[in-house]
């Protein structure tokens, strides 16, 4: 005892640098979790150069890319469980970083430009705002909820960095921010550090929906996480103080001008936390509601056609916007993500019950996990509601599941099944994200040609794609075309109602040409791409032989003349319009 006292009181202070060396030695100490995560990083780095050149596959990048890529994803799941078992916070963060690298950074590094075709519609609005300093409120709904697009144009102006470069790097940057922010949220919501890291890993790695691309949804989600953190702060202190309320409302205003759906989820969350006596002041959700409804009313001219409530039928609202049956690979991927999502929700529910039985806090994370299902009572959101429900529910599910994972990782009997589940879930989520890699991957060439076609041709001209997918609106110029005719780029297989056609009969081709003839004497350009063939085949929109069959007929038809031909993009001019 004396020695101990003497040690504590009289021993000389540690030499400067000794503590740092000890910390460094501790950080570099090889543990099973750290070794696994280093192996994951090596596998990822080896696989990375080949991923951009992966051949077309209906089973996606995990099947077509290097097997080491799938191994690195599985190892990140294994690394997390081993880190939880050893309560190794550093290894836990390394697992999170590894997951961001494999699931988010890979997309940026393996592609030359933004991945999804629909990203370009967003970039076009930002481009228009940057060029004109105004929004084309008469054109489409994007210009009404233009918070992200105005900010991008603004940022692009002051940094000199193009919006397309920002969009290309958006995903890894935003997911890094989400990880740091969600860790802070979990800590505020009473999670110890290791459990908060596990929850962060779940939110990061199991988000298979892929809504972290350059989109208003993703930015609104980040802002909403900030508000959830502040709700947690208010919950901890008993009542949101005026400064905290000011922060909440500032972030809420930014969400309201950015995205149509997210404000209502935040309001629902605030309402449920208020009526359960967890959030004060009581009027907060009401003020948020007034703000959101006032903004909706101001922009009702563009929102009216979508309707306030699509239907009260929950099952119908939960249907996805992919109504067709795709190829076998698409069906397998769909099945995997259904099982994964259902598994996460079921596990979260069981964990909530387990917490309730053990008299641990469960109500607040349960509200966070399951409140988003409320969206299904009113909106299908164009068939995307179910994806948003999953995205919004993931943070709450992670808060419910993480403590159980931390506990199960400590027991010898449960650690092996837990490892199997963690590795399988990480790979399943990656399959959900990368399953449609060949179909979604938008070549840089198509983006360039699309912009060039709009630049080189006068208004009015119809620039129509035969079938999805094509970056049809990717520059400010689209506004001029859309003002003339909002359907200037309407996809012809939908106009002609020829989904599923092989284009191997005269009847099909005649129906196709009838749709073209609707353009009258207005110049018409028809776009056919190799990427369309893959996308439409993958999602069951057109059989694999449809596009070549159609092109063979176009090439024999004197009414068409090649306008631009590259190995992957063919553009034809309709001569009858002259």
């Amino acid at each position: 005892m004396t020695i101990a006292l003497r040690d504590r009181t009289t021993s000389p202070p540690a030499r400067p640098g000794r503590e740092g060396r000890t910390a460094l030695r501790s950080a570099l100490r090889p543990t099973p979790a750290r070794i696994v995560l280093v192996a994951a990083a090596i596998c990822w780095l080896i696989s990375l150069p080949s991923l951009g050149r992966a051949p077309i596959s209906q089973y996606g990048l995990l099947a077509a890319g290097s097997p080491l890529f799938a191994v690195s994803i599985a190892l990140s799941g294994l690394g997390l469980v081993l880190a939880a078992r050893a309560s190794d916070l550093l290894a836990g963060w390394a697992a999170v970083a590894m997951s961001i690298a494999t699931m988010r950074l890979t997309i940026t590094l393996a592609t030359a430009n933004p991945f999804y075709s629909w990203t370009y519609k967003h970039l076009a609005v930002a481009d228009y705002i940057r060029e004109t300093g105004s929004a084309a409120r008469d054109v489409d709904i994007y210009h009404h909820w233009n918070g992200l697009f105005a900010a991008t144009a603004w940022l692009s102006d002051i940094t000199g960095i193009s919006a397309i470069t920002m969009a290309h790097w958006f995903t890894p940057v935003i997911y890094t921010l989400i990880a740091l922010l969600f860790y802070a949220v979990a800590r505020i919501w009473q999670c110890p550090p290791m459990i908060a890291v596990i929850a962060t890993f779940i939110v990061q790695s199991l988000d298979w929906v892929g809504q972290g691309y350059y989109s208003p949804q993703c930015v609104a989600y980040v802002l909403a996480l900030g508000i959830i953190g502040l709700f947690g702060w208010a919950l901890r202190t008993g009542r949101a103080s005026r400064p905290v309320l000011a922060l909440i409302l500032t972030a809420f205003v930014a969400i309201t001008v950015t995205h149509q759906l997210t404000p209502y989820w935040v309001i629902l969350l605030a309402f449920l936390l208020t009526i359960t006596g967890r959030l004060r002041p009581r009027w907060l959700f009401f003020v948020m509601g007034v703000m959101a409804v006032a903004f909706l009313a101001y922009n009702w001219s563009s929102a009216a056609k979508f309707g306030l409530l699509s239907s009260g039928d929950v099952v119908s609202n939960a249907q996805t916007n992919i109504p067709l049956v795709g190829v076998r690979g698409q069906q397998v991927t769909s099945q995997i993500v259904r099982i994964l999502s259902g598994g996460i929700w079921a596990t979260a529910l069981l964990c909530a019950i387990w917490s309730a039985v053990r008299k641990r806090p469960f109500l607040v994370p349960s509200i966070l996990a399951f409140s988003s299902f409320g969206i299904l009572f009113g909106q299908s959101y164009g068939g995307e509601a179910i994806f948003r429900v999953f995205l919004f529910s993931l943070p709450g599910c992670a808060l419910l599941i993480a403590p159980v994972i931390e506990r199960l990782a400590k027991f010898r009997l449960t650690v092996l099944p837990l490892i199997a589940v963690a590795m399988a879930a990480a790979v399943a989520s990656a399959q959900g994200l990368y399953g449609a890699w060949s179909a979604y991957n938008m070549p840089e060439e198509e983006n360039r040609i699309s912009a060039q076609l709009m630049e080189d041709n006068p208004v009015p001209t119809y620039i129509t794609a035969v079938a999805p997918v094509w970056p049809e609106r990717n520059s400010a110029r689209y506004v001029d075309f859309a003002r003339w005719d909002p359907g200037f780029d309407a996809t012809l297989v939908y106009v002609a109602k020829l989904v599923g056609s092989h284009f191997n009969t005269d009847v099909d081709y005649a129906r196709f040409m009838d749709a073209v003839a609707l353009h009258g004497a207005t110049p018409t350009l028809l776009v056919v791409t190799q990427q369309m063939r893959v996308y439409d085949w993958y999602f069951g929109i057109l059989p694999y032989d449809a596009i070549p069959n159609l092109e063979a007929r176009i090439n024999k038809d004197g009414r068409w003349k090649p306008y631009l031909l590259t190995p992957n993009v063919h553009v034809y001019e309709y001569l009858e319009a002259r």
């Binding site: 929004a135 603004w154 922010l181 900030g226």
Partner: protein, 140 residues
């Protein structure tokens, strides 16, 4: 006669006993001014202006929120900066006042003003008798 910058500098102290959020706001603001010099290559002004855009406004706001602490305090800096950027640019579009460089300049001025007022209010002032700029707080 002292230049305006030398008068302002003590109110915008960085490092030492300066508030970390104040230091972040001042450093990012100084770098953010590069965003105003459009002839600069984007390789130079891009990272500098990005740092301001994602740190400056949030740090200037969080400076006034001592009650929010820990990891949440730090991570709210980029979130609130994003919110500020969205609101400013949205209003600029709405009102037809699209002048990003001017708006950036105004935001930088507002950020620095926030820091200066904070330092004055919290007694982190330069001591009148001290040429080295040590603050009253330190001298007390």
């Amino acid at each position: 006669m002292r230049s305006p910058m030398s008068v302002l500098t003590p109110y915008l102290r960085v490092g030492g006993n300066a508030h970390p959020m104040a230091s972040l706001a001042v450093v990012s603001s100084v770098l953010g001014t590069l965003g105003l010099i459009t002839p600069l290559p984007s390789l130079v002004r891009g990272p500098a202006a990005l740092l301001y855009a994602f740190a400056g406004p949030g740090a200037a706001i969080m400076l006034w929120m001592p009650e929010v602490s820990g990891a949440l305090r730090r991570t709210l800096v980029p979130v609130l900066s994003m919110a500020a950027m969205i609101i400013v640019s949205y209003l600029a579009v709405l009102q037809g006042l699209w002048h990003p460089q001017w708006q950036l300049a105004l935001m930088i001025v507002a950020t620095l003003a926030s820091v200066a007022v904070f330092n004055v209010r919290n007694g982190r002032l330069p001591h009148p008798d001290r040429a080295d700029g040590r603050t009253e707080e330190v001298l007390r």
